[in-house]
Every structure is written in structure tokens, then in C-alpha cells.
């Protein structure tokens, strides 16, 4: 009797997770793969084949876009780490107990505003008639408005701003677990600030760094709104290609193939990163 109750409650607890994985992750992806392996030979006539993938390889603009998206995402990840690490270190190790919570909350507040509104905020600041341009005209540094939007720098700034929180959170939680005595021992045994950072703090924070990088890289490579709004038509983000195939060209087969290629590509980059840093998924993302 009691074991039946136990089993039932176990099944009930597990079922939302199982439903989510199967219905929303597994099934759509299987559908996508099946869809991407269909070739259109005539209207409403399809054949099994790798045509959509061959199209991707034969058209340089497609794989160039994918490589561009990948490398820019890596750049965004690196920048987010570079800016996020000092912020996380300050919150976890230097700020007092009381200000720590307030600082953490301040990092979270931008998340309360939707992506779209935040992107429009950037547009308001950076467009030709925007705040910065007007300010420059007012100070007399330039006599005509400057368009800051629709270039790679703006896209990268906007992406870093959107994803940096996902870098800070895992970093704060790993750095928080490091005792102050670890750092003091580093100095006591003769290390200078650089050796302590390089030999003790960074190796200790490695799981958090890797976790943050994976999340940030995945979010950036898969983001759509920020590159489109801040980069305009020039952004050539790979998600835009996928959107084009599905919506504009109504070529679902090719869109599915692209979607699957993006997934495979980002997974490969993450795998490579894990191999190079000597970490595993279980002790990084699964831990934070």
C-alpha cells in the first residue's frame, strides 16, 4: 500500500518533467530532423534526401552566416566574462554582507523589462536622432547627427548587455563558495596579486566560468531580437536565416535543416570548450 503511494507520487512528480522533455524538446526535434531530410521534387511531392544540407554547403552565404554568428557569439561570451568576472568578484568577495543582496538585485532588475523594450531603449540612445547623437551635436563635437545603430559593435554591445547576467550569477555562486582564507593563503605563501588570481581564484572559479560561458554562448547564438533590432538588415545573424526560410520563403524543409545545423554547431563549440578547459557538464552547468 505505502509503496504504491510512494510510486504514484514519484510518477506524479516526474511527469511534468517527462512531458516537457518528450513533448516540447524531443518530439519537435525529431520532427525537425525528419522535416529537414525531405526534398521537394515537385509541388506537394517530397523525397527522402540530404538536399537541404547540400544546399547549405553549396551556398557560401549560409555557412558564412553561421560561422559569423558563431565567432561573434564567442566574442560576446569573452566580453561578458571579462566584464562579468570583476562584477561577480566584487559582489561575492569584496562587497559587505548587506550590500551584496542589493547589488545582486540591481543586476536582476533589467530582466524585469522585456527584451523588446530593452532593445528599443538602446535604439532610443543610439539612433541618428537619439540621445547620444543629439548630445554630441549640442556639445559641438559634430555638426550632423551620427547613426550608431546597424553595425557589429552595436550588436555586440547589445548582446553583452542582454546576456551578462547569466555570466554573473554562476560566477557569484562559485566565488561565494571560496573562503577568504584560500586567497590569504595564496598571498601568505608568497604569491602576488597576479599569481593569486591566475593560480588560485581562476582555477577555483573554473566550473562557474565554464557554466556561465556555455549559457551565454547558447543564448547569444540563438538570440534573434537583439541582432535584428540593433543590427538591422546588416546583422546577418543565423537565426535570421532560419526565420527567413520558415516565414518569408515558406521553405520549412530548409529552415528545419538550418535549425538543426545551428544546434549541432553550437553543441560542437560547447563540447570543444569543455574539452579544452578540462571540465564536464556535470561539474559546471549541472552544479550551478
Amino acid at each position: 500500500m505505502s509503496s504504491d503511494v510512494k510510486r504514484l507520487s514519484l510518477i506524479l512528480l516526474f511527469s511534468p518533467f517527462a512531458l516537457w522533455i518528450v513533448l516540447l524538446i524531443l518530439l519537435p526535434h525529431i520532427g525537425m530532423v525528419a522535416l529537414s531530410l525531405r526534398e521537394k521534387v515537385a509541388p506537394r511531392v517530397y523525397e527522402f534526401g540530404f538536399g537541404n544540407y547540400i544546399d547549405f554547403i553549396n551556398e557560401p552565404i549560409y555557412w558564412n552566416t553561421l560561422l559569423r554568428t558563431g565567432s561573434m557569439s564567442l566574442l560576446v561570451t569573452a566580453l561578458a566574462l571579462l566584464i562579468g568576472f570583476p562584477v561577480a568578484y566584487y559582489i561575492a568577495k569584496i562587497a559587505g554582507k548587506r550590500s551584496r543582496g542589493a547589488l545582486f538585485l540591481m543586476c536582476l532588475i533589467p530582466l524585469w523589462v522585456s527584451d523588446l523594450i530593452r532593445a528599443f531603449g538602446w535604439i532610443l540612445l543610439l539612433r541618428e536622432t537619439g540621445v547620444i547623437s543629439s548630445f554630441l551635436i549640442w556639445t559641438g563635437m559634430t555638426d550632423h547627427g551620427i547613426e550608431f545603430l546597424y553595425n557589429d559593435v552595436t550588436v555586440i554591445i547589445g548582446l553583452v548587455y542582454t546576456v551578462i547576467l547569466f555570466m554573473i550569477v554562476p560566477l557569484v555562486s562559485t566565488l561565494d563558495g571560496m573562503g577568504d582564507d584560500m586567497i590569504e593563503a595564496g598571498y601568505n605563501l608568497g604569491g602576488n596579486s597576479l599569481t593569486v588570481l591566475r593560480r588560485i581564484i581562476i582555477p577555483y572559479a573554473m566550473p562557474g566560468i565554464v557554466a556561465g560561458c556555455i549559457v551565454v554562448f547558447m543564448l547569444t547564438a540563438g538570440s534573434y531580437l537583439t541582432p535584428i533590432l540593433l543590427g538591422g538588415k546588416n546583422s546577418s545573424w543565423f537565426t535570421e536565416q532560419i526565420y527567413d526560410q520558415f516565414i518569408t520563403r515558406f521553405n520549412w524543409e530548409s529552415g528545419a535543416a538550418f535549425g538543426f545545423l545551428l544546434l549541432a554547431f553550437t553543441s560542437f563549440v560547447v563540447w570543444l570548450g569543455l574539452r579544452l578547459s578540462g571540465q564536464s557538464l556535470t561539474n559546471t552547468v549541472a552544479r550551478t
Binding site: 582564507d181 590569504e184 598571498y187 608568497g190 582555477p203
Partner: protein, 378 residues
Amino acid sequence: MTYVDDRYNMTAADVFDLECTGISKEFGDFRAVDDVSFRIPSGTFFSILGPSGCGKTTLMRMIAGFEDPTRGDISIKGVSVLSTPPNKRNVKMVFQHLALFPMMDVYDNIAYGLRCAGAAKEEIARRVADVLERVALPDLARREIHQLSGGQKQRIAIARCMALNPDVLLLDEPLGALDLKLREAMKIELKLLQHQFDTTFVYITHDQSEALVMSDYVAVMNAGRFEQVGRPEELYHAPKTAFVAGFVGDSNRWKGRALEVRSDGIKVETDAGLSVVATAYGESPIAEGAAVEIFVRPEFISATKPGEPTPPAAGENEHTGTIDSVLFNGANSRVLVRSPSGTLIEADVVVTGSGEDVREGDPVRLTWARAQSMCFSV
């Protein structure tokens, strides 16, 4: 006020490994360390003993360089180190939780300091092997930290410091996290390691038995000041203040009033009505009628059954009572005796396990010498 004892000048060398002169540390209005001075000769095991919050950790952090003293000077081997940053001081520290680096193995933990000092690869390998040999763990070089036992971690933490040949090794209650049996074993081991390395150890603890067992000298610290510095037996048998008498070793502790002060002793009546003949201790003189505190160590009180002969010299204080309870603890067994005035007196007894042993409810006679009742004015 300084407690620098002339007996410290025991060697020809005038240079002390560690010398603190009038150091104080204030955090806002709070004075954590208050005008402390001491000198430690080479190769000494020196303990700083005090209750938590007495300022001993702050003192140690100042020696290591993690805090700057508000006033006073710290010299190592005769050279002031106040302007030297912590990573340049040749003072190494074993932290309370050891602070071994979990992402490195044993070898890299020990090699870390040598690498910071810029030693060559072969030199590092030789020194690490040498120090591991000396802490008797030669095969553990490639072990990960989480694979070590508590005692092994302890020894690796010491080895990590000793590989750098420090002038002074600071130990901040490193035995606190160990279980009792291991703690007892590590006490002896630490003392042996100190002998072997022949380095000055400064050991911070709140556990008086650790301090007494291991140290050549002990400083008893209370409320930011050194109450007394001396050899362990000196602190135990000739405490200079009531705090030291109460903190070092176990005592029967009674408050009372001095009824009669004579050259050969003081007659005291405790608040509970027990009358005791005592000897004046401490620096401030005791006036007739003044409030006093009396400490009598349990091992100096002999408990005998009525009719048995009492030790001849012990007859200056004699009380009868009944045994309230027997506290059996092997060689350290005690009895709690209730005197007619209602005071509970602790006395050491030998419990042999035979029928001769004292039992609860037995009448008993307690005797101790006048010299063993330490009387301090309050």
C-alpha cells in the same frame, strides 16, 4: 604594561625570531588588541591561549600582515616588517580550516610557494619530496586534497608552509575541526614536528590542554591584553591573575571575603559560608575585609574516608561532607562533595574498581594545604 620576562634572554643571540612591541589594533571604538608586547626566541613553541573574541586571531593576522596594527611594531629576526606586504614576509600560516587548494594535488599545493619564489623545477621536486618525507607522507605527492584524511591534511598544510623555510610558523587553531582522538594524537605530532623542523611555532588556541601539552611558553590573553606569559607549569602553579587561575586548568572557584590577613596566610569565608585558609597570589595586595576569589585545583584536595590517615602536610584546610556524585573518567576520576554549608567541592580520586572505592552518599573528609588555595583580590 608589558610582560617581558628576563628569562627569555636565555641564549647569546640578541635577535628574536619574532618581537612585538606595544602593538594595538582598534576597529572603530573597539580595541581588539591592547598594547601587547612579547619576544619569542628561536626554535620555541609559543602558544597564545585565550577565550574566543580575546583578540588572538587579530594578533596573528597582524603578524602575518593581513591587518595593520594601529600602534606598535612587529619585527621578525630583528627587522621591522610593518611596511612589508604579507607575501614578502617570511612568516607562514596554517589556517584554521587549513585552506589547502582543492583544485591542486598535494605536490602542487606544496610547490605553489616554491614556484612563487621562482625556484627551479628540480629544486622544487627535491624540496617537495624532502618535506613530504619529513612529515612522514612520502607517497602522497599525487593525491588529490579530497582524498586525504583529516590528519593527513593537517600535515600537508604544515608541509606546505615548511617547504619555504619560514622564520616563524603561525598556526590558527588548526586542530579545532578534528575529532577528539585525532586531536590528541596531533598534539603530540605537532610538538614532534616542531622539534624536527626546529622552527619557531606560534600556536593560537582556546583549548588550554593543547597549549599546556605542546608549548615551551604560553601567553594567556584576555580582552586584548596578555594576562601572563610563562612556561605552562608556571601558569598552572603560579598564576598572576584570577583570570589565568580560572582559565588554565580546572579549579574549584569560590567568591568570598578576607576575614584575617596574616603573613602566613589569609583566612577567608566564602559567600556560601565555607571557611578556607589561603595564600595570597597576584600583584595587588589583599586587605582585610576585601572581596576575594579563591581557586583550589581538584588534584590538590585529598578525599579520605573517616578513620583513614590523612596526608600530613595537607591538614591546613579540613572539611567533611558527603559524596554527591562520582564522576568516573578513568585516571581523571573525580568526586563532587557537598559540604555542610552546601558548597560543592570537586576533588580527584583514584577509582580502582574494587570494593574500597568511594560511593555516592559516603561521608568523606577533604583536606588540602594552605599553599594550594590561591587567593586573588577582586
